[in-house]
Symmetry: C2
Subunit: 460 residues, 2 copies
């Protein structure tokens, strides 16, 4: 809370080299706040302060640094000291860090890590990215069903310092198979002599280790959980994912979704915007831009094909931006709404007809308004004496209005349909990126426009 | 977990009218699962089953229904019975429901609610929407500093059933001013005789009741909290916001952001897509479409102004879609990245020069590629014999390439700049909606295109 106030305070302590005070400050302030303050210092200074603290606190603060700072610090540090720190880090944060390290650094570090933690790292590393296994922690508390409440509290008291949470505790049989769940609240409100077996819930909400991380976060969100147990195919508990991991996953998926919508490729990475190199920005962004640029040349070919019409009715060219923009805008709107509704599970593929019917009604209303707008624009601002013989301004106005209305209708429906088609092919609906959609409806819009206009004004 | 399996099971119990079994089923299954199953039934049937349960469980399941179903059920129900249910609901869910009810229903209901809960509703209703006060719950646990650990556990045991969480407990002085915080873990691991005063943390991460809900969720996310206390201006604790509320807030803001990006107005409401009426869809979406449609007419005016050039070099018209699309795409990309980086606090307004410098480099690379592409397109596919005397295809190609490159540069910079300008004026950067941006760079693109081309090919 008082971070802005703390910065000078900490700097003073550092300047005065007041080790006792620094130690006290770091122990009493939230590790996230300490990490944020230290993050502003030079690396050697960060290490100097971290080394004043005992290893558990050091590891705790370290795991609150931004991941890219962790990587930099770990790479530059004495391997043996870094191994000690790794041993004390929370299992999931440690796995994240190891995953980001250079192979060389990793190969030097791992042999120095104690066997139990090395095993744990190896186990967590085997899970594919974005699965429950890759985000879970192995620091969870378990109880046996035949324990009494009193024994359970005693055991949790001992285990507490090393566990991510003791508020949700999992009950396992002799093979570590998950057979139930109790909350610390359940335990606290029960009589000391009761058996865990009698108060545990057997209908446990859980995730499989290979489940997609998004579905795991979804369950935590849906059932308001503090943590969810992760089991393997034999129902043996192998980890937990906690509420704060769920928020991180939701944020990450959100960034990915928005970037997909805007057609930015790349690994939707953790690196902050300013730290991504110019060349990587270029690589992530140029693919779509060039691809869509080439597709937009196709739109140009449509215009080329109708050059004659354009030369005869030059005023038509002034409607090209309106056709293209309106198509892109209406299509993006319906696509966005459908993608969101799919993501929130408000609709599924079998609602396709209801969605199309709704979009058809909405777009029909929109089409009338936009058609009218185009008609007025043409009638009021075009010069009627410039019209070729045999055609009237009213005729041309009607043609433009009908064309724009059809463009609104088709783009809206295309926008709603494409995400559903993506779902049918088991693709992420968000791949129907807004720029891609805009470019597609550009082409359909131009075809519609010229086809309608030619039919109206060149009846021969 | 087993929802699909449970549905027929529950239906059978209902068909058999086996009240004892239904009661047992509802008591043992997660209330979210029960709510989901009941949600598929007709309203009278939902009420019939709810009335088999005792009021606390009934209220618990009821508060897990989707908000719009809660409103429908509450509106159709006997007011006196509904008042009993309201009294038992979690304070924050109750406040959400009351807020959504018709004024008439609310006015009939509230006098029937017991005084303590009515006071609570009145208090929560006074906070502005989207503030900490409007999302917090008043069911939090507090302790006094002079209690011993043993006394604290005894008190938490008694309070537990009515509290949202007993895992985070707040320590208050005689005026309910927040003076510290202890977790149940701290309490459990301490000796029974220790005083709460000696183990509480005094550097409490907290929120003010008028804080924006997004900043509250941000603190929960940043500090990995299970709950955050909410205080008034006198530092008196008035509520808590819990981790599951934080996820809901993050989801809600995410929907708002994406809808803003796609220029969909309206209240970004809780109503699912299919339940929003066609007319409301139209109202939410038509404003931007019509507004942008009118702006795109301005782009048309630019074309009208350069009609002469177009008539002379008809091939130029085939580049109009590429100019518009590429501008929209590059601008949307940079805007999206800057908006996200601002939201994730990776950059702030004072980084404006660094952002612009980075975007200038990226767009310069992109501009070269796209310019080259346009040049090749023109040289390869245009017919050189159609050129007016005194001009060459190479000249035209160079003109088009330079124009497109400039369009890439300017749109990228406009896309990066507009969100930062919005921040400067204390506006939400996401108002730089992608459709709006697309339309703006259409106009600038056309001006650039015709200005450059005229200069190149009409040196006179």
């Amino acid at each position: 809370m008082k971070n802005p106030l703390l910065i000078p305070e900490l700097r003073e302590l550092i300047a005065a080299n007041d080790m006792a005070a620094i130690r006290e400050f770091c122990a009493e302030t939230h590790p996230e706040t300490v990490a944020e303050l230290l993050g502003g210092l030079e690396h050697p200074e960060i290490w100097r302060i971290l080394h004043m603290l005992d290893t558990p606190l050091r590891a705790h603060i370290f795991s609150h640094f931004e991941l890219d700072l962790q990587v930099e610090l770990a790479t530059g540090q004495n391997r043996r000291q870094m191994a000690r720190l790794l041993e004390e880090m929370p299992a999931d944060d440690r796995a994240d860090l190891i995953r980001e390290l250079d192979e060389k650094v990793r190969d030097e570090l791992l042999p120095l890590v104690a066997k139990a933690e090395r095993e744990d790292i190896r186990k967590l590393a085997q899970y594919e990215e974005e699965t429950a296994g890759s985000v879970m922690s192995t620091d969870y508390a378990v109880l046996r069903p035949d324990m009494t409440v009193e024994q359970a509290i005693e055991q949790l008291r001992i285990q507490a310092p090393e566990k991510e949470t003791i508020y949700y505790v999992y009950v396992v049989d002799e093979n570590r198979r998950l057979i139930g769940f109790v909350s610390l609240k359940d335990i606290i409100v029960s009589k000391p002599g009761r058996r865990i077996r009698d108060l545990m819930h057997t209908d446990v909400i859980k995730a499989n280790v290979n489940d997609d991380q998004e579905s795991v976060a979804g369950k935590i969100e849906k059932y308001d959980l503090i943590a969810i147990p992760v089991t393997d195919d034999n129902d043996v508990i192998v980890g937990i994912v906690t509420h704060d991991d769920a928020i991180d996953i939701i944020r990450q998926e959100q960034t990915e979704d928005i970037e997909k919508l805007m057609a930015i490729s790349g690994e939707h990475e953790i690196t902050p915007y300013l730290k991504i190199s110019v060349f990587r920005h270029f690589r992530n962004r140029s693919g779509w831009i060039v691809g869509l640029g080439i597709i937009s040349m196709l739109a140009g070919l449509v215009i080329q094909r109708y050059e004659e019409v354009l030369l005869q009715f030059a005023v038509l060219a002034t409607f090209l931006p309106m056709i293209a923009d309106t198509g892109g805008n209406t299509g993006s709107q319906s696509a966005t709404l459908v993608i969101r509704a799919l993501a929130l599970k408000e609709i599924s593929l079998r609602d396709i007809l209801r969605v199309l019917f709704k979009e058809m009604q909405v777009s029909a209303m929109m089409a009338c308004v936009m058609g009218l707008l185009a008609y007025i624009r043409l009638i009021v601002f075009a010069e009627s004496d410039a019209m070729p013989p045999g055609t009237t301004l009213a005729m041309l106005g009607l043609a433009v209005a009908v064309a724009l209305a059809l463009q609104v209708l088709t783009s809206t429906l295309i926008g709603a349909l494409l995400p559903l088609i993506a779902v049918f092919f088991k693709l992420d609906p968000a791949i129907v990126a807004s720029p891609a959609l805009t470019t597609v409806v550009d082409i359909t819009g131009l075809v519609i426009f010229f086809a309608v206009v030619s039919r109206f004004i060149m009846p021969a």
